[in-house]
């Protein structure tokens, strides 16, 4: 905040050159000296976060000391693999394609998910597509209750509120995806004596937007201190391909396109970033709202949601409990 109490319009501006130097120094020291590993494995999704981590690791460790992995599955957008390959091409890094669909099918991921959806949409089956969504933060102060959106083979869309059994069943089944990817990353890490890089940004890390022992697991997390909009600044500086910069953030987890906003954050990431910053730096809802063209009510709701998600997801951050 500025001394006169007016909130700066540039709160999240990063000195990208200095930050890149700081992060790459930290990665080098962490991987080689703290963890004593010979390089880094990075699961590349085609999204902005994993792309930036790949670029940072390449700078820090050398391109020959990173292993990129593409791990699509039956529900992945084909664009994700295309964008992931752009990262490998831009860096001239070694990469491997691991289709995890057979593992997921073997674990019953798709079957269990579809069975859970059928608890609320009995006709759901072959040719149907789905995603789960939250109401927006401006939705009349309602609780954040998930609904499933289903598209039938003839293109008809329907939205049904989930029961607890259906919601938990869908989430538990789809979490196989993140956990299977992490299992594959550690296979390569063991094979190469590398460390596994985690790719959450601050918004995801702070708000618990990850699967425990799935994408939440890693040996080091080099951008977990950066707001999402700062990750974009770094991406532009590092030369991440333009197509990746332009792609809206997606979960790429369900058969229908699903934004992170409708699945978890309930606000666009630019606004979530500002609200997270404002809350953690003691900026009043009114001051933040006035500086960034939001309403005070929206910011207050966001502040409340941030606190609420922190409480609910505290367990995701917890290590295994042991007796002293």
């Amino acid at each position: 905040m500025k001394p006169d109490g007016v909130v700066s319009s540039d709160l999240l501006r990063l000195d990208v050159e200095a930050e890149t130097a700081r992060i790459t120094g930290w990665i080098r020291n962490t991987v080689f000296h703290t963890l004593r590993r010979k390089g880094a494995v990075i699961g590349v999704s085609g999204g902005i976060d994993s792309s930036v981590v790949a670029f940072l690791c390449a700078r820090a460790l050398g391109t020959d000391r990173i292993q990129l992995l593409f791990m699509p599955e039956a529900d992945s957008s084909p664009q994700s693999l295309q964008l992931g390959r752009m990262v490998a091409d831009a860096l001239n890094a070694k990469s491997a394609l691991e289709d995890i669909s057979p593992i997921l099918a073997g674990a019953g991921c798709y079957q269990r998910r579809d069975d859970s959806i059928r608890l609320v949409v009995p006709e759901y089956g072959l040719g149907h597509k789905c995603k789960i969504v939250l109401p927006g933060l401006l939705d009349a102060g309602r609780y954040a209750i998930f609904s499933v959106v289903v598209q039938s083979p003839d293109g008809k869309m329907s939205k049904v509120r989930l029961t607890p059994d259906a919601y938990l069943g869908i989430v538990a089944a789809t979490n196989f995806k993140q956990r299977t990817r992490k299992m594959m990353e550690y296979y390569y890490a063991d094979l190469l004596q590398y460390a596994v890089a985690g790719t959450p940004n601050l918004l995801e890390y702070d708000q618990g937007f990850f699967v425990k022992n799935g994408d939440g697991a890693a040996d080091f997390k080099p951008i977990a201190h950066l707001y999402k909009s700062q990750v974009y600044q770094l991406a532009a500086y590092l030369g991440v391909p333009e197509d990746i910069l332009r792609r809206p953030p997606t979960t790429d987890t369900y058969t229908l396109e699903q934004s992170q906003e409708e699945f978890y954050f309930a606000l666009p990431y630019e606004q979530m970033d500002l609200c997270l910053y404002g809350k953690d730096h003691g900026i009043s809802a009114l001051d933040l709202a006035q500086a960034y063209g939001m309403t005070e009510d929206l910011v207050e709701r966001a502040y409340h949601m941030i606190e609420s998600k922190r409480k609910v997801t505290k367990y995701l951050h917890a290590q295994s409990m042991t007796i002293d």
């Binding site: 954040a144 209750i145 989930l162 409480k311």
Partner: protein
């Protein structure tokens, strides 16, 4: 009704430990119930009292304390008795406060 709802909250969200739960205590402020918990609560209310909770009714004014839930259920039951499409006979396990 109040005791039934209170028991449900204590058994499901306080692991049977009654503690100091007041009937007016806000579930959100005390952090007792998260969004999954609201789904469980709604299912309990719908099956126990034979009502249908709409999306628009999923607000703290209706569900954020034991007392608010009781008021909400009573209002729903009263409404349904005054409409021709009465659904209160579906699952009349408990209809009195």
């Amino acid at each position: 009704m109040l005791q039934t709802i209170r028991r449900f909250v204590i058994d499901n969200y306080l692991f049977g430990e009654e503690g100091q739960l007041g009937d007016e205590d806000s579930f959100m402020e005390t952090g007792i119930i998260d969004s999954t918990g609201i789904l469980e609560l709604v299912r309990f209310l719908e099956t126990t009292y034979g009502i249908k909770v709409t999306d628009e009714e999923l607000i703290p004014d209706n569900l954020d304390s034991v007392s608010k839930i009781v008021s909400f259920i009573l209002a729903k039951q009263s409404d349904s008795q005054q409409t021709p499409h009465d659904c209160s006979s579906r699952l009349p396990e408990e209809t009195r406060p």
